[in-house]
Symmetry: C2
Subunit: 458 residues, 2 copies
């Protein structure tokens, strides 16, 4: 189909001033995935309703045109990179918060709502939507596409655990609703869960019903230096098993912490002699509805961590705690600013992080690769920046790194998704029987293959 | 295939002393679903390994023989009722707890492990697997099949939220492993979540990795009489929104409570004059790792409930509290003993329970039907016993009752599943587009339709 034909066809689906084509569409060809090649969409559309999305998909279905959904474009695996000549459906105008239902403790939102936008409405109501993947401009729709996680998952779980229901448009333009304002159901297969994390390859989400929670008033941040990485990683399972229920349980290696302190001008109050003997830090945030419980938990945790070999335990002043957590959220930008060649968000069982890092360290040394990072230690989710300028060597390092993670019982991505940039590793390393099931599930939803071709599968 | 052919074929898959046929197989023709017609299996097999399950399925696949998985046979929707002449795969011999991994806070179990068996191992370790659907002899495999819930779901979620990974045998006898000892992942479609709640229609689970939690040492049970059902149901959302995080939040209507008190000889200490003015009770259980926090929470909750219109608040002595909760767990047996004609476990948004019960009350009155019940009020999951001897009238009442639930934003079953006994309502009332997607997903996993035919779909 020619560019003119495509645009004229789309003009039946929505007003012309909400269709971009030609050069102006080019801004929608990439997301934040490092080293990914941008696509050249034939058109970008800005629907304002499920009906308009349905009309766009019906047109795409009839003409066999590729369709890629796009939230805020903050994804890290290239799942929002469109096929050349395809349609980008940008959800930036579908950004209404439709309902905050306190009796059912849910928020009903359109997919273009950002985490910041939702939090600005929930915070004054004493509520919180707990998924914080480190980028407040990220959209709920994008979060659903990749099953976004982030630092608070160790307490609240990831996007999959918060999404109770969806409205979604199928490849042929028909609309379904799944789930609802309830947390349980056993009424046929769980289509909600199937769509979450499917990276726009099964359907386009046009509305989501999300769990919200009471917002605990009191928080404390502990920064805990350790002399060895092993000691950090042995402490992590003990903190989880203690039942203290940390909101955040992160590890930050020395190099990443040094970068964060320098770039974000952090003043953490750790004496130079302690810094000198530190290999990695735990960053633990606790929260509570009652101040005295928080203090008690902080005290108890500090004792536990000291017994587990921490050099010291620093309870940060609120402002420094916030600054540290914000800096940690920006670790990706630190990696990007340092010209990392690729990033990794492998998940392994939390007790296997030490073994994973040891084996990755040996791999890095053997291949002359530089690797640094941090991670959601409580979840076993390790974020690494990989510096290896040689593309062939890097592909080999990445393959071996993912293989180490899988060998330890993990998977390639904990929260970024596979998209386009991790696809070759996924297809090479995942059990072919499972990939085959997934391909056939995709064919159920998208028989002509128009939904985000190039992501997840070839 | 003749009976003799089937048994001889199965004898290649596992030893002859683990195959039942003929009359002796008849004990495996039913589960606990009320009013369901038992099936007559051609054979029952008792595998001891995934390899044996795979061999059975390969034989079934080759011969087009139906296969129905069976845990403890405690299901309430007929999902364990086999097709006549088909194979029942009983998991009662695959009941090993393979691993309790404290560092990763998971238990790895075979599907025949019962909730009681798992709890007996976890309790001395200070751990808990929190799914309690009210029947401790239920198996983990059966729980996964129906996405079992129960009273503690209001705090911990349902089976879906606890199962981190599976080993499963596909219809053709091939074996896949999904997920693992971690709580998050974004690496292709979530096959774990798809298999949970699929009632044996997609694959046979042969191993599960489950989350376990620290077991709080202190518990308190509050029994709270209310003068109207509306007042009960208005209190429920307030308790959830308070952030106090109850372990159990049940409502029990007057008739059900009277039956429980009589049959289970409960001594709850509620004075006769209070009983006389009570229409329904809330039963709230709180738990905490620290005794003084528990007492503080009990005090705070009692004040809240009094403000919300409770007649009084009784903090039960531990033994009475346990007896009440155990009696509540046996509500199904109470209904069965009272010759209920059918049972219902509709889910609606928790704030819609009052409206649901009002409309169901009007329906009952109009049709001369008697309805009584209780439910997981915190989850919006209403359990009703339906007494209507006329089968045609009963089918009409059930259809209208489910329609009311769906009209209020709910679904037919919260935790029992669809199986065979709720299938006609599911197929009549569910969006045909969604049922069609589900049928086609089934065909991906089970192209020849041998897995639990008659359950979920016709």
């Amino acid at each position: 189909m020619t560019q003119v034909d495509l645009v004229s066809r789309l003009a039946d689906a929505l007003p012309a001033d909400r269709i971009l084509s030609g050069e102006r569409a080019g801004d929608y060809g990439a997301d934040e995935a490092l080293g990914a090649v941008a696509g050249t969409p034939g058109a970008v559309v800005f629907p304002e309703s499920a009906a308009e999305v349905a009309a766009v998909l019906a047109a795409a279905h009839a003409t066999g045109t590729a369709v890629t959904a796009r939230g805020s474009g903050t994804g890290l695996s290239g799942a929002a990179i469109p096929a050349d000549g395809g349609i980008v459906v940008s959800f930036e105008r579908m950004n209404a918060i439709l309902d905050i239902d306190v009796d059912n403790m849910v928020a009903v939102v359109q997919p273009g709502v950002t985490l910041r936008g939702l939090d600005e409405v929930l915070a004054p109501m004493g509520l919180v939507y707990p998924v914080y993947p480190g980028e407040y401009s990220a959209s709920i729709g994008g979060n659903i596409g990749t099953n976004a996680g982030g630092m608070r998952a160790v307490k609240y779980g990831v996007t999959r655990h918060q999404v109770l229901g969806l409205e979604a448009v199928l490849a042929d333009g028909s609309v379904i609703r799944t789930g609802g304002k309830f947390v349980k159901g056993s009424t046929g297969y769980d289509l909600t869960q199937l769509l979450i994390g499917s990276e726009g390859t099964l359907a386009l989400v046009t509305e989501a019903t999300l769990r919200v929670y009471p917002r605990p008033a009191h928080q404390a941040t502990l920064l805990v230096p350790f002399p060895t990485m092993d000691a950090v990683m042995q402490a992590v399972p003990r903190v989880v098993a203690s039942g203290i229920g940390p909101l955040i349980l992160e590890y930050i290696d020395l190099l990443t912490m040094n970068g964060m302190v320098r770039i974000y001008d952090l003043d953490l109050g750790v004496p130079a002699d302690v810094v000198a003997t530190t290999v990695a830090y735990l960053c633990v945030m606790l929260e509570s509805t009652r101040d005295e419980r928080l203090e008690e938990d902080v005290q108890s945790l500090a004792e536990t961590l000291t017994e587990l070999g921490a050099t010291d335990v620093y309870v940060l002043p609120p402002r420094a705690g916030t600054a540290l957590v914000e800096a940690r959220e920006k670790a990706f930008w630190l990696a990007k600013g340092a010209n990392a060649d690729d990033i990794v968000d492998v998940v392994v069982p939390r007790a296997a992080i030490a073994a994973f890092l040891t084996r990755v360290g040996a791999l890095a040394e053997e291949t002359g690769t530089f690797v640094a990072g941090c991670g959601h230690a409580g979840d076993g989710n390790v974020h690494l920046s990989v510096f290896q300028g040689d593309a062939d060597k890097r592909a080999d390092v990445m393959t071996r790194l993912f293989s180490i993670g899988m060998d330890l019982g993990g998977v390639i991505s904990g929260e970024h998704g596979i998209g386009r940039t991790k696809k070759k590793y996924f297809l090479a390393l995942e059990d072919p029987a499972k990939v085959d099931l997934m391909r056939r599930i995709k064919a159920v939803f998208d028989p002509t293959g128009i939904l985000n071709p190039g992501a997840l599968f070839d």
